[in-house]
Amino acid sequence: MITILANLLIVTTIVFGVIFTLVTAIGLIRLPDVYTRTHAASKSATLGVMFILLGVFLHFWWIEGHVNTRILLGIIFLFITGPIGGHVMGRAAYISGVKMWDKSVKDELAPVMIERKKQRQQQ
């Protein structure tokens, strides 16, 4: 009985993780722009891999009887560094001059960049 419940919880977490990974794949194919693709690849990929690693941790804990803290460390590390990587990549894409999608509504960084260029010319 306990084993069935444990397997049910493991299967649920791993299925959630796989669904988020597939959503990442669809987003990375279908979205039109670097910035929207960064949005897909940073958040949902991180959440999917966190769910899958949580399922692996629960499997090794409840089925094999072995608590492995390295997986928890990996989950925390991915939770911290995944969105940081997406943010840094979007900033580098903007500064290196990748065009936005032509149906984009708002670009709040453009006046800041123009002002920074003016300041650099004055110096």
């Binding site: 194919i29 997406g86 580098a92």
Partner: protein, 94 residues
Amino acid sequence: MMIFFWVVLLMISFSMVAFIYRLIKGPSVPDRVVALDALGVALISMIGIISILADTIFFLDIILLLSILAFIGTVAFSKFLEKGEIIQRDNNPS
């Protein structure tokens, strides 16, 4: 139970094929770097599922190592795209 993990492995492989499509086709360099980052993350989850299938705990060190390597690679690539160099050397020490 084992066939479920094989199906999960197949699904992750399909999404990795999609990432490789974006990696080859991507119009600009940041597209490819984003696809590489997602590929590393998918590889981490694949290693977790493979360690369940192979019934061993020795693969689990690789998860931490690979996540650190993927993060360092993304940050180095973005710094290279932003400033044109990765390691800044001070050639004129005052």
